[in-house]
Structure formats: C-alpha cells, structure tokens
Symmetry: C2
Subunit: 456 residues, 2 copies
C-alpha cells in the first residue's frame, strides 16, 4: 500500500508536473518526418537527463532510426522488477490549421493541457517519472527494482526496437511490464486493457503517363492513375465493412459470447460518441456492434489519398500518378506478414494494364492478448483504485502498441500491464490532442501506487 | 491570295515574334488561381495595347471575373468580317517541379519555345496579331474587316463570356469566326477541326467526423470519408471504360461509319503515342479505337483527389474529410446541364449514411459540330496550304472550347474555323508546355493568308 504522504506530495506538486509536461510537449519530436530528426533526438536526451537526475543508470542507444533510452535503478536482489515502457515520439500534427493552439506550444484550457503528445505518449509516460521522483523525495528509495525502456519510433511501428530488445534480453529481464499508452474506456472510467489490435500499413503508388496530360486530348484512351487507384481501393472492402482480400479473415478468432456480453454491459454511449465526432451515424461492420468493431474486429482504412490537382477551380488533366496510404488493424490470430502478403497479391491481381502499381510496406505489428487474472493484474487493479479512487474496468483496445507482442515473445514476459490514464476523447493522432490534468495527476498517483502494490 | 512579300516579311521577323511571345508567356495569367488575378489583368492589358497600337478600336470590359477585350478594325462596308477569338489566360502550372525550365520564364530549346501558355493559347492567338502587323506594315491596310474577342477565362469554362456575347451581339456580328486553340492532328499535319467535345466539371467533398480520428480507436465503426469517396468514385465507371451514371449515354450520337473509316485512315501511330507518354498500354473504352475515344466518345476522369495524410511515413488516422475533382467530356448531343444533374442525382443515391457529400459545379460546355464544306472552310484550307505548305486534314478534337457552341447559338454564326497551329505533343495543360517555332511562324503565315482568302 502506498504511504499517504506520497499521494499528498503528488497532489501538491501538480502544477510543477504540468509545467514539466509542457516543456516535454514543446519538443516537436515527430518521428515520421525527417525534418524533425533533431527534435526527436532532443526529446530522447530530455528523458535520459530526467532519469539520470533521479539516480537511474543508463544511456541512449543509437539505432538505425531514432535512439532508444534504457536506464535502471535496481537496489534489490530479492524484489520484483518492473520494466516501464514508453515513447517520446509523437504523430505528425497535420492538419496544423485545425489546432486551436499550436501543436507544439502547449496551452492549458478548462482543466486540459493541449498539445501534440499531451496524452500519446508524453503525458502518460511522464507519470512514471514523476511518480518515482515523488517516492524518492519522500522515502529516499523506490520499493522495487525499476527499469525504463523508452523509444522514439512507436508511431512508426517500433521498427528498430525489436532488434534492440532481442540484443538486450538480459538487461530487460523483468517480472512485469507497465505501459500507459492506451486510454481509459471512457473519461472517468479507469481501465485495464488486456488486448491490442495489430496493424499493417502500406502505401500504394499508381504511375501512369510520364507527365500530367490534357484530359481533352487524351481522355478516354489513357488509363487515368487516379481512376485506377480508386478502382483498386474500392475493391478492398465492400460497403458493409467486409474486407474483400481473399484469406483476410482466415485466422480471425471471432469474439467470444462472454466477451460480447461484457462489452455490451459497459456504459457505452453511442449518442455521446456521435455528438463528440459531429456525425449522424456510426457505420460498424455488418453483424457487429460499434464497440466490437472498434476493439476486436479487423479494419481497412485509407489514411491518406492524393493525386492530380487539388487547388482552387479546375484543371483538366489526367494526373501522371496517384497514391494512397492504407492500413489494416488486425486481431488475434492474424499475422501482419501474412496479411501484407495477401494484400499485395490481391492488389497485383486486380491492377489493370496501362499503369504501374507500386506498394511500399510500413509498420507491421502483431495483435496481442495478455492475461487478465494474476497477482500483477491485482496489483495494477489496487494501484488504480488508489490513484483514481475508482474500480477499473477490463477492455480490449483498438489501437496497436507495436512492441507488446515482442515483449511477450522475445522476453517471455506475460505480465504486461496496459494501463492507460488518458481518455478516448483526448484526440490522440487528431488535432487538438489533450490530456486531462486530473487524469495526469491520478495517473502519477496510480504509477506510484503500482510500485508499492508490486512489492513482495 | 496573299502577296508574297507579306509571307517573306513574316519569315524575316520570326525572331522578333518569338521575343514577343516570350514576353506574353512571362505574365503568369493563371485564371484559376485568385493569387494571379492581377497577372491575368496584366495579360489583358498587354493584348489590348498591341491591338490599339495597330489601329484597332476597342477596350477592356469588366466582367464578374477576368476582363474581356473587344477591338475592331472594319475599314470596309462591303467586305467579309472575320471575328478572331482567343484567350490570354493559362492553366495552372502544377506540378511546378516537373518543369525543366520555370513555367513563366520561357526558354527556347531545340526549335521549341517552352512555357505555360506557349501553345494554349498565347502562342496560337498571337499569330493573328503578328499576321495583321505584317500585313499593315507591307500594305497599309487589312484586306477584310477584323474583330477581336479575347477572354481571360477560357480555362475556367468561359463563365462570364457567355453573358458578354449575349449583350454584345451587334458588335460581334461577323461572317466567320477563327479560333486557333486546338491542335494539328499530328506534328507536321495541319488540321481543320470540325467538332469539339463538351465538358462538365464538378468537385466532390466528403465530410465525416469533425476532426481526424485515431484509426485504432475508431477504425471499424466510423465511416471513413476517404473510403466513402473511393467507393462513390469507383461506382461512376466500370473497368471497361463504361460510365455507370444512369442516362449518361441517352443523347450520345454514335460515331458514323464514314467517320470511323476516315479516322482509321489517318496516320495514327499508337506506338509513338505510347512512347511519348511512357506507357505500355493504351486503355480505350471497350469497343472503340483509341482515336475514337480521344475525339468522339464521352469520358469520366478524376482530375484530382485528396484527403488525410500524404507526408512521409505513416499517420494512422481516419481523415475528417476527402475530396476529388471529376470531369466528364461530352459529345453531341449530350447536354452538360442534364449530365450534371444526372451525375448529382446518382452520387446522392449512392452516398452512404455517416458522411455528408457536397458537390460543387464548375465549368460546363456544350459539345459542338461545325460545317466541313463551304467557302469559309475552303478559304481556311487554302490559307493553311499557303502557311504550312501542306494540305490540311479534317478531324474532331477531344478538348473543349467553351464559347464555340455559344457563338453558334447566340450569334448565329455557323462558319467557325477551328484551326490549331500547335501539335498534340506540345503538352497543353502539362508541365513543359511548348510550341514549335516552325508552327508558330507557319501559323502567322496562315493567319495572314486567311484574311486574303476570305476577301470577296
């Protein structure tokens, strides 16, 4: 049980913590954009410095991409070891014009801190640093051994973290892993997540004539790359949400009746969701509820599409090329490698003559399910009760945290705590991303409590 | 018959003419882009000044868009009157990075002048000014009455020219109209065009959630505007080139057997076209030759498409909105208003719940057929022989010149000469647009000869 004075201390320091989060958000560590490579590095250094100041031993490791931070403070031989994972990189901020305050100039409004990374994952990750700082200042030592693994490529699918984990299996040995990179089921409803969707993400480029053509001169006789792209993309999914790639559903484990029942019992307010998103209708896959679709069914989304003229007025051309980014969320037991291969095979089979279709693979993550009942989960359950003053619910998460399946497979650690402090309406990956100051502080309390609950 | 000394003069002055065309191209008169509104006006003034210097009386007329220039020199009561139409606006230059020399810094390379508008329509139109200048300098007076109508919105579908023509029917009275805004059938094969396709151009905007969403959190339950856009667009045309809008073909007059035969007899080199465009296959509508499709069949082309993330790497979002520009080339007797209505009705009927689909109408032009055999055509035939030293061929053109059907219907003038001096590989509407210096000079000679051939 966490000593009361530590919880008090965390309550008292809330403004200092908020200031520090703002400092962290101000570093525009957009991992996808090469222009921000230096900022990503700065964010890594910022994290390392914080850890070193608290007496953690570690360093920054170079990878083929952005650096990995590993640091540990392991004062005990006979205590539990918790590995805390987080990421210091963020999603691109586009469309920048949709932000009320600039994405990298954080602002506090109505009890929320706004900025890119506020919740995903700078704010949520920072709770562990602040929890340990509070514990150290009040008691002089942490109650268990703690290791930190912090990467800068989560938003790219943790491409270079997998080889790192394989290479550093010994250092990364732990009894449990804590990750706060998911969200509460709903605002004010703290959540333990026991499953994640996987993902595979590809780019399609359709090349036609060597240059844009006059659509009057050539229209009707030349394959238009934008028309062809649309034709290919339209054949990936039907209008009831069924994905048409042959073999796509072969390894999908359908949702168990008990899980459907459990999900249906959650206070999911469809009207509130529609109001928040400003849409009149949800459009779940035929035969499934919206919640089932968001948490436990595979998807296919066009994340971006482009080609030809998009300026004001008209331009009568056949564009020389067109492209799209397409991602598929995967559920157990779909294998991202297999799905990627099926996708490519299918697209090639439906690509017409007269154009060249190129496909580029980006991130690929396995879906994962973790245990729901054991001592580690119990510890997290109690810690969240201490921090939030509420009983957490259990749910699967629709997003992907690339490295989780590798932690399970490479490190052999089953006890993975997916305990997000944020809220689904925080706008992770959206403009005006935010983090509730209340959740931030309760998250710090829960993180601190977790260290005491895990103590044997 | 044109006096030999005028043809000689035109030959001698070729470098001066080329310099003047470069000056004209340097004015970036992109009518579609509001940023260039001032440049469009500058181009109008440039034209008017040239005409006034040659003793034409006229002025610039304000419209709701860009100005219209009207000027005349009518020394005769009992002579033919020729109305010369041209446009001083140009297509947007995008993608600018594809140009070898900047679009508005014209350059001469290997016998061609490169720059936006070189052929469409600055270069082709300028031939008439230079022809008249040469005639005036050699003989002191033009052989017939000449009127000029020059607009700055041809690339926008001549939106404001129609009311202008209706209002100025009296001034615009003429025996024939000459327009050099089409192209030769092939380089070195001067052409008289007797038909043009029409067009209707629309923009589709699909709106979904109020902001971009995390595709992990919401994917599967929310209609993705990019997926919906693709679904709608894919249902406009099948993969054999047949347009699926109900009623679309109702008024299409199929190509007559004699016309098919005539087209088939033209020296159309498919291999050369494919090589020029760097494509392996043409993709004509099923049942028609490429030439038939380019000249006399209706089309549906996506001219631009956009939505979501198109930067480097990945962004896992459901975009808040997506859009496309779509144009349909029309053939006799399709009515652009009717086709636009059918298009909108169909799109509305296939638009799913969960998104809002908005449609914006842009240019709409009627397809047109003009007479192939009469004295005016004979005059053009002889003039082209004088200018190019070759016998012209007859062909329909796949592009649209908005105002032609209005000239026919409003002014009641049937004798419309569509005599393009450029070449189909000049890259009108494409990067690296160009105009052969040889065609430019032969065009000036032909334009001058035309005035003598029309003399009664």
């Amino acid at each position: 049980m966490i000593p009361a004075e530590i919880l008090e201390k965390i309550g008292k320091e809330r403004h200092a913590y908020e200031k520090e989060l703002m400092e962290f958000i101000r570093i525009p560590s957009v991992s996808a954009d090469p222009k921000h490579a230096n900022d990503v590095r700065k964010a890594a250094e910022w994290v390392l410095e914080k850890l070193q100041k608290m007496g953690f031993e570690g360093r920054s490791y170079e990878t083929e991409g952005h650096p990995v931070i590993y640091a540990e403070r392991c004062p005990y031989k006979d205590q539990q070891t918790l590995l805390i994972y987080g990421h210091y990189d963020v999603q691109p901020p586009d469309p920048v014009e949709a932000w009320k305050s600039p994405p990298f100039s954080p602002e506090i409004r109505d009890g929320y801190i706004y900025g890119r990374g506020a919740t995903d994952d700078k704010g949520q990750f920072l709770t562990y640093l602040k929890a340990i700082e509070a514990i150290l200042s009040e008691s002089g030592e942490i109650p268990i051994n703690v290791k930190f693994l912090v990467e800068g490529e989560e938003e790219l699918g943790s491409i270079n973290l997998v080889p790192f984990v394989k290479k550093h299996k010994k250092e990364l040995e732990a009894d449990a892993i804590a990750i706060s990179d998911s969200a509460q089921f709903a605002s004010g409803m703290p959540t333990i997540c026991y499953g994640l969707r996987g993902i595979t993400y590809l780019q399609l480029d359709v090349y036609g004539p060597a240059f844009d053509l006059h659509s009057g001169h050539y229209g009707g006789a030349v394959a238009n790359p934008a028309n062809v792209l649309v034709e290919i993309l339209s054949r990936l999914m039907d209008n009831e949400g069924k994905i048409l790639i042959p073999g796509f559903y072969d390894d999908v484990i359908d949702i168990e009746p008990w899980e459907c029942k459990e999900m249906a019992s959650l206070p999911y307010e469809e009207e509130a969701v529609k109001k928040h998103l400003c849409i009149k209708h949800l459009k779940p896959e035929k035969g499934y509820t919206p919640l089932e679709c968001m948490k436990a069914r595979p998807t296919l989304d066009i994340n971006g599409i482009w080609g030809g003229y998009s300026g004001p007025g008209t331009k009568t051309i056949i564009p020389s090329k067109a492209g799209a980014k397409v991602s598929m969320r995967l559920v157990p037991d779909q294998d991202p490698e297999k799905i990627t291969a099926l996708f490519k095979e299918y697209v090639n089979s439906i690509s017409p003559e007269g154009v060249t279709v190129q496909m580029t693979e980006f991130q690929k993550n396995h879906p994962v399910i973790v245990p729901r009942e054991n001592d580690t989960i119990k510890a997290a359950f109690c810690a969240i009760q201490s921090g939030f003053g509420k009983t957490p619910v259990f749910i699967r998460e629709g997003g992907s945290i690339g490295i989780v399946s590798d932690f399970k497979n490479v490190l052999g650690i089953e006890n993975i705590l997916l305990i997000g402090w944020g809220s689904p309406d925080d706008g992770a990956h959206s403009p005006n991303e935010r983090f509730s100051l209340e959740d931030f502080n309760n998250g710090i309390k829960s993180a601190a409590a977790l260290l005491y609950e895990l103590k044997v």
